[in-house]
Subunit: 303 residues, 3 copies
């Protein structure tokens, strides 16, 4: 990968993606070989919004490369409270660290930050915008379990608001993938995203019912439907209930089906699935470490 | 020690305890020899409740072994707020780290977590339940200062609610110790704990007045009486005042008396005692580092 | 430098200052040579008040020396909430770490802490008191850009409440520096500080108008005027506006003028200055890392 910053999944070519995924596979196979890879480097963690798994997996990734991290802490305990602009915060912190991972509630924040930084910026979520390292770990998990070519994937749940879904759908246009989108009418993929996928020549179909397509799928990617999206509690429960899966639901699925979820889940996937061979969502979360190791290593290594 | 997890002091035999304490003594004597012992390992710190000394001493212990830590942060800044179950949180984090230290407000949380984790879980407090690494550092401090055999110990203060006290009393049944419990009637050792001690053949006596037994003691272990336990403020002050110690109180004590306290203290021990040879509570806190180094090292080393 | 603790800029002689600044210059020139300098050491970060840049730059400094840090976390998540005294907190933590960086809202806190600690205490701000490591990085920045001898410096803004300003003015009396203080009448340097400077034989003049002196300055050190200091919003805006600088303001300045600011800024310095050769405030913040590396290294190394 030859990029200074990772702001959006859209900036990645198939070659970029495969380079990171190949390196992640090397790391996963032999982590000890990378234990001193970034010794002496410091990564700044700047999370303007709460995070557990993204922050901890970047933190762990950097440490497993032999590097270290410095954490800005919560907004409540930082200079942001004193009225400092994001641009100034970034300009200061980029002088301390060798790279910055940034999560911010405003769409475009990471792009803006990259204009003020001499060190690599990794976008770890900018509002409803992008979260490209999540996309890379999703792709890694798909490749390991089902392969990225000749792939039939179903993406289900909240397709309207989920930045994870938009990034993944876009990245999959680099591969030979048939994408099925399954959601209630009110949470369909936004028109702009559908338009972009069409422009890229993606093979896309939309459904309101998982049964229409379940038996064909290699991968079922489930996302959380958030209560806050529905003005009416009853409406939420009716809709959400139709997009939850349990063992009965999966009766019609292929034995090789890979079930993914970006987590945290609430009740989209019944716990009884956790112990089956379908369940790949914890493995998917764990893949965050080698994939982020590969990403950081490629951004920090100036060949 | 041959355990996968450390959930309760009750699981430890005399041999287990002595193995950890011996290793801690080696570490305390020559810390530099252990400086690379866990290089490349990462410990996750998952504190669902506030903590200073337990968290910092585990953090320091891991770093002094050459390893590193990754901190879940406060509950407010984590996925727990999004409704994730403890089981899911543990299943994700155990894929990042080589071991997990867990503090949680619910009794039994660490036991439950250990069922979902392939890496060692260390219980750092589960509600009114257990806090076994505190017990190990208490035992280490007693052994260094008074010896664990032919020991006469007084345990004073809030004996009803203190998980520290219950774990220590139970662990001491592995040794030749006479245990005196000193408390107001309303904060006596719970019936179930007394029953268990009796079953173990412990040598136990109860008192409401320290003077009855002070002169016999090798160790006096003081705990904090919490205001919240008393509906009436006056009642609290009357009772608490009787279980505070100062230099006058210790007139009747042996010159070799070791005074301990799990800290933080409020006013159970007068500051004038701090500079005397009795005062062992800061040394006790400091012992948290070598004891937790020994514990982590033994859980992380697969011989 | 031969000190056990760094509590106040006043304790530093010219020789002390130059020793730290020389070491910082060595580090800035060849950081890789210091990468293992403090391997195995642990620094405790005890911030009883919010901080971004001070905390992150100490954290980064220690890690770039090959050492590690352990963070007390926020007051809300610590034993302080349980009523523990600062003295007890310090006595415990000094047993975990090899040095402590302390920020506390009470003036004199660091001094008091140093009386209870066997390890070095670095004062990172004690209320309206001192913040000596800020002074060291300010001096380093001045030395690199304008030289510390035959220096003409203007210090502008809130001169009444700013601990940064008082420490810097005091430290500059060790050098051949002419100090001009520019502020509204209501935010003049306190009488006691003026008296001390006079006693030291400092070359001091006061102004209410930057134009009186701008053309003579080698360095202009701008500080933030805080809204909270003014009972009346209009009064604040009128006063603050007169002590903001932009490109027009600097028309009368020397081309070699160095503009500094301790940050965070709000609107004291117009963004249009950021890209000019005057702007030295981000470099100044970045200097926090090598200067704090030099400071920690000198406190931790027992020659």
């Amino acid at each position: 990968m030859r990029h200074d910053h990772l702001i959006s999944a859209n900036q990645l070519t198939r070659e970029d993606i495969e380079a990171v995924l190949d390196r992640a596979a090397d790391i996963a196979e032999n982590p000890a070989a990378f234990r001193e890879q970034q010794a002496g480097s410091v990564l700044a963690l700047c999370f303007f919004e709460p995070s557990t798994r993204t922050k901890m997996s970047f933190d762990t990734a950097m440490k497993r490369l032999g590097g270290d991290t410095t954490d800005m802490g919560s907004v409540e305990s930082s200079s942001v409270k004193k009225g400092e602009s994001l641009a100034d915060t970034v300009r200061v912190i980029q002088g301390y660290a060798d790279a910055i991972v940034l999560r911010h509630p405003s769409e475009g924040a990471a792009k803006m930050a990259s204009e003020f930084a001499d060190v690599p910026i990794v976008n770890a979520g900018d509002g409803a915008g992008q979260h490209p390292s999540q996309t890379l770990l999703d792709l890694f998990t798909i490749r390991e379990n089902a392969g990225l070519d000749d792939l039939t994937i179903g993406i289900m749940g909240d397709l309207k608001y989920g930045r994870t879904v938009h990034s993944l759908a876009s990245a999959l246009t680099n591969f030979d993938a048939r994408q099925h989108f399954i959601s209630p009418e009110s949470l369909r993929l936004p028109r702009s995203v559908r338009f972009d996928l069409h422009e890229e020549g993606a093979q896309v179909r939309e459904h309101t019912d998982l049964d229409e397509v379940l038996s064909e799928l290699d991968v079922l990617y489930v996302t959380r439907i958030q209560r806050e999206r529905f003005p009416d509690e009853n409406e939420y429960h009716k809709v959400a209930g139709e997009y939850q899966i349990d063992l009965d639901t999966l009766d019609a699925a292929s034995d090789d089906l890979t079930v993914m979820h970006p987590l945290p889940r609430v009740d989209e996937i019944a716990p009884e699935i956790d112990e089956t061979a379908y369940a790949t969502y914890f493995e998917q979360a764990h893949n965050g470490v080698p994939v982020r190791m590969a990403l950081l290593d490629s951004l920090l290594t100036h060949e």
